[in-house]
Symmetry: C2
Subunit: 453 residues, 2 copies
Amino acid sequence: MQDDAWRELEALVETGSPTALADFLDGLEYEDRTVAVARLPEDARTKLLAALDPDDAAEIIGGLPDSQVTEAFGNMSVAEAARIVEELPSHHAADVVSEMEPERAAEILEEMDAADAAEVRALAAYDDDVAGGLMRTELLEYDADMAVGDVVADLQGNAERYEDYDVQYVYVVDSAGRLRGVLYLRDLLLTAPWRPIGEIMLTEPLFVDDTASTEELRSIFDSITFNAVPVVDSDQRLLGVVRRSALQERLAERSEHDYLMTQGIVGGEELRSMPMLLRSRRRLSWLSANIVLNFIAASVIAANEHVLQQVIALAIFLPILSDMSGCSGNQSVAVSMRELSLGLVVPREALRVALKEIVLGAINGTVLGILVGGAAWAYSGTPWLGFVVGFALLLNTMIAVVVGGTLPLIMKRFDVDPALASGPLLTTVTDMCGFFLVLTLASHMLPLLIGAE
Amino acid sequence: MQDDAWRELEALVETGSPTALADFLDGLEYEDRTVAVARLPEDARTKLLAALDPDDAAEIIGGLPDSQVTEAFGNMSVAEAARIVEELPSHHAADVVSEMEPERAAEILEEMDAADAAEVRALAAYDDDVAGGLMRTELLEYDADMAVGDVVADLQGNAERYEDYDVQYVYVVDSAGRLRGVLYLRDLLLTAPWRPIGEIMLTEPLFVDDTASTEELRSIFDSITFNAVPVVDSDQRLLGVVRRSALQERLAERSEHDYLMTQGIVGGEELRSMPMLLRSRRRLSWLSANIVLNFIAASVIAANEHVLQQVIALAIFLPILSDMSGCSGNQSVAVSMRELSLGLVVPREALRVALKEIVLGAINGTVLGILVGGAAWAYSGTPWLGFVVGFALLLNTMIAVVVGGTLPLIMKRFDVDPALASGPLLTTVTDMCGFFLVLTLASHMLPLLIGAE
């Protein structure tokens, strides 16, 4: 890979003509082109996209991170933006439009061809996680009465338009637009031209409603070899087609999102090329919510300062207890998130999950309690301190895995994104319980703990 | 969705005939079928797969979590396993085989058709993250001299075999098997049957080496509308084809892997249907490594116990300092992981990342330092304690974001999985530095801190 192609590109944007730019990009390998454009400073990227042919600009936009696309469309003129959006495939245009500020999106749609704009608006109204939000509307659809020869003639006559469709299947509909069957393109090769396609189609085709979830789509694509599934409305009218790759892309996006959220990157992806203050503000929004949770947990220590004062060695084990319980709980969170996305658990099964986890917590808590409690005994020289620390860790591990395992299910039931809040809420609960357990145990055993010191 | 279909299925496995089982599964919606089989207890699932037609079993296996597939193949007889593996598409068979115990895999391959086995072995030798590991070898490939009519005749004659190929493109090779061009299936529709395909093919087709990385493939698919790219060896001989959906699936798998790893789920995915002791052992393997890191960090507190003894209020703020710095660092880890996977940063740019992060750390550290330091002042009534806590948090935030931002790049350079160790190593470093900073500052200001108490 040419890591520095973007520097040359940046110089060209400043000085070069649109033709020189297009030539330079054509000269790059596919894999270097997107990365070069993605690494440009914001204003150079906007300038470049506006200078290119809308068709070429649309191709490049397909490969840029979402945040850069939104930013570029925000910076260029409405007319420039509209010309590029028109060149995008309908489903991609809808994604781009729904990421924009609503007023900006309205302006751009206003400037577009009215039919295109209507289609984009309809697609943008769907949630990203249902078939309607994942489908593309570019497809080959013919009436069941049409003859094979006429379909082939249409394909020939519009070959250029269908070039970008990249279709493998031909859908057969009745006069009301209701899905009736499906054909492989190759079936057209093997049939006499006078036969109606309704006679050679596969009847009772597999289809999904526009409201089908990604979990349903995943199960469908897991069980079939087709690469696309048609999408219909409640009257079984054909609306579009969801491809296997569109679903896979959405699943990749979602686990990326989950990963970023759990690590405290909220409000959309962050790239280091973004303005420093925006990055700082977004990270702080999450950190400052977390401070509040930390204060709540720490208040448990503050309330028991007198215990700590008398057995100072406990102060060494508080952060260990906090970290280990947090880790145990996060493991359970991850398993629940994974099982949710595979459809192996549903929100109302929280009790079943809790029962499974509590046994695991008892086993792991015992092992961890012996290890950490043993260390506490060795460090302080008093077995009772070891008991306090170890027993608190055992109980708190059981609490952590139960809370961690059920929290994502509970949040899902209340339509809160489990990736966002599971981690911080979990550690607050486990910190509070952990600090409470160890300090309360210690306060009841003070004579034993102090006597031996 | 029928959440309880698996209970009925389990009963049928115990009592029913293979035909009754096949009928029951046929009666389920696609989306319910995989979930029902995935929820079965381990032995019922193995029994079911062995009882079904190998073809049907292969279809179901396509939708199960990897761990269940490996487990089922481990439990059934070698002959049963071999018959099912033969029915899987080559790339999928290779994935399954490379997940198995090596001896088990060898036995199964031995039992298979020799040509199939050789192909699966060759594919299994590739890394999962290069084009060779993602390609499928089922493709349509013809000599450039062949006439369009002959190609169509071959398609017709072998329609049944090609049924599972699901191909959209026809690849054209020379007599040595080197890639020379590509055709859309539809091009065959539009051409006189006597013309050689070499005349109508797109020449200079796009292709990748079998060693091309997922980052390169992502950039390629981002920039083109094709759904598949041919893969060649170093002599440009055609080996297979990578589909867009195969790449997307791999990317989804990888971010899932990253997510699970950062949450401490190592040694492969965990499902709650797995044996309790296996789940416990795997989670403990990671937790016990983490204990050691915790002891290292806590040793800094132990070494400064005398300071803590004199300013007990500090003990309340140690866990807050630890948690907040860990969170700030993890945000930087996530941004670096994301930029690495987009190809926007390469390992040798650690210095550039560090410089970008340190500024951000200074801004966020100042804000967080004022908030937490203010709280410490308010709680203790002494401004000096606020200063100690706040200033330590400022410095430690700067350390955390620099370490968090660069650690994934450094680990990647040394070929260690950044998702696995970034989190625990990061928090150990930030804990050690944080505890050291706050306790050292406090020890130098003891008269001020104690005087005011």
